[in-house]
């Protein structure tokens, strides 16, 4: 479903991604974890070309994302993206946030877009928040609207860039529950996260990054109990023992 081949990227002299390759099969959930500055966010942002790459290739759903001949706007329809800071459109209501792109990009009628939008918001526990502006919603509610907004485009892949890092602790669960539900429904997902328990529970594979490289890939059970690399062991000892 997602195929990343030998991707390199640097900001000036700083190499942020070094020869990164990764395969995510259909319906798999992959967690990207690692210390800050490891290149996790940069990597996930290259998957829908929010971030350009220097060389290598990324194929999502059969489409080469960074190919100059690719219509990136069309390619992005298959890829939902959820940001750490939600990035909801503040001048639109929750429902309008969800319906604007189906209407303006896919040409859906207002009625059809709203029907689908209301269903999505309801399925995320936000049925009564359709008419609320983002400023009136809690962080957890905003992030769930953002998830509904991405799902409204019927993507085949969902990318989450630290979806719970900007949330108050008591709101983390509601967002993780939404992602958990997607995993159950068989959505292909890549999640950058610091929630180790969550990664262990829902992910098929853990990808551990450091210094712009993939250092280790393993099944969650193996990774969290007995990682192969020293680097991963050090990282885990720091995040798990506190």
């Amino acid at each position: 479903m997602i195929s990343i081949k030998n991707v390199n990227k640097s900001f000036g002299a700083h190499h942020v991604l070094t020869d990164v390759s990764l395969e995510v099969p259909k319906s798999n959930v992959v967690a990207l974890i690692g210390p800050s500055g490891a290149g996790k966010s940069t990597l996930i942002r290259t998957i829908n070309a929010l971030e350009p790459i220097d060389n290598g290739e990324i194929i999502v759903d059969g489409i080469s994302i960074h190919d100059k001949k690719t219509d990136i706007n069309k390619a992005r329809l298959n890829i939902g993206f959820v940001f750490q800071s939600f990035n909801l459109f503040p001048f639109l209501t929750a429902l309008e946030n969800v319906t604007i792109s189906p209407m303006k990009v896919k040409g859906l009628s207002k009625e059809a877009a709203e029907k689908r939008g209301k269903e999505l918001l309801a399925s995320l526990g936000l049925a009564d928040k359709c008419d609320a502006y983002p400023s009136r919603l809690s962080g957890g509610q905003q992030q769930r609207v953002a998830i509904a907004r991405a799902l409204a485009m019927d993507p085949h892949v969902m990318l989450f860039d630290e979806p719970t890092s900007a949330l108050d602790p008591e709101m983390v669960t509601e967002v993780l529950d939404a992602i958990r539900k997607l995993a159950k429904d068989g959505m292909t997902m890549v999640v950058v996260t610091h929630e180790m328990g969550f990664a262990k529970e829902i992910c098929d594979e853990i990808v551990f990054m450091a210094d712009g490289k993939i250092v280790e890939r393993a099944a969650p059970d193996k990774f969290f109990t007995n990682p192969d690399t020293q680097r991963a062991q050090d990282f885990l000892s720091k995040v798990l023992n506190h």
């Binding site: 992005r76 990035n87 604007i100 953002a146």
Partner: protein, 219 residues
């Protein structure tokens, strides 16, 4: 002791009304020209095209650095040698080019003030750059620029008094002529100040009405 005679105002009310209408007319046409100029060069200031960016910066910096009075005289006497502008269109273009530079800066800061995440979110949903600009960034930029834009419009009405220097008929020139024939400078200039205030304050109230209506939708 000076004997006030306010009848000079009432007797010449038609002159003031005509002058005020001319002022409003010239200001309105100038604003209508200045807005597209401002939007084009404002977007030029943040364009990816180097040439467009350079041209826009040169325009903004030069116009900001030259006093309006000097610009008007220059357009009328220097540019007027090559183009048949006349005092009417010469003043309108002078005001429009002058205000356009300031509007360009307002537009630029308005667009740049919209957080980068808004464009990214719109693009991640499959919108083209143009669609994201139209449906997501510009509506937010518009809300941001309304207050400074309002000040700019008010400035332009006041600045239009300067065009009397190149002989364009409007409130200030009419007042000058009236003072010359009636010798009632205190009465006339006091009333002229009041008329300018009425025009600018009305505009201010109209814009405030639109602002509150816009902000209501976000509360």
């Amino acid at each position: 002791m000076y004997m006030y005679d306010w009848s000079v105002i009432t007797r010449n009310m038609d002159v003031f009304i005509y002058g005020a209408l001319k002022t409003l007319e010239i200001s309105a046409i100038s604003i209508l020209l200045a807005i597209p100029i401002g939007i084009i060069f404002g977007m030029g200031r943040i364009s990816k095209n180097k040439f467009f960016r350079l041209i826009s910066s040169i325009y903004v910096e030069i116009i900001r650095g030259v006093p309006l009075l000097v610009l008007l005289i220059w357009i009328f006497f220097v540019l007027g040698q090559f183009l048949k502008l006349g005092s009417y269109w010469g003043s309108i273009w002078g005001l429009a080019i002058f205000a356009g530079a300031f509007i360009a800066e307002i537009v630029r800061s308005g667009i740049q003030g919209v957080p980068k995440g808004q464009m990214e979110a719109a693009r991640s949903l499959g919108m083209s750059h143009a669609k994201a600009m139209t449906h997501i960034v510009l509506p937010q930029a518009f809300r941001r620029v309304l207050p400074p834009l309002a000040s700019q419009f008010i400035m332009l009405i006041k600045d239009s008094s300067l065009i009397s220097i190149i002989g364009a008929t409007e409130l200030t020139l009419d007042a000058k002529n009236l003072v010359a024939t009636s010798f009632r400078s205190i009465e006339v200039w006091t009333f002229v100040a009041v008329v300018y205030f009425i025009m600018t304050f009305s505009l201010s109230l109209i814009i405030r009405y639109f602002e509150t209506r816009l902000s209501k939708s976000e509360a």
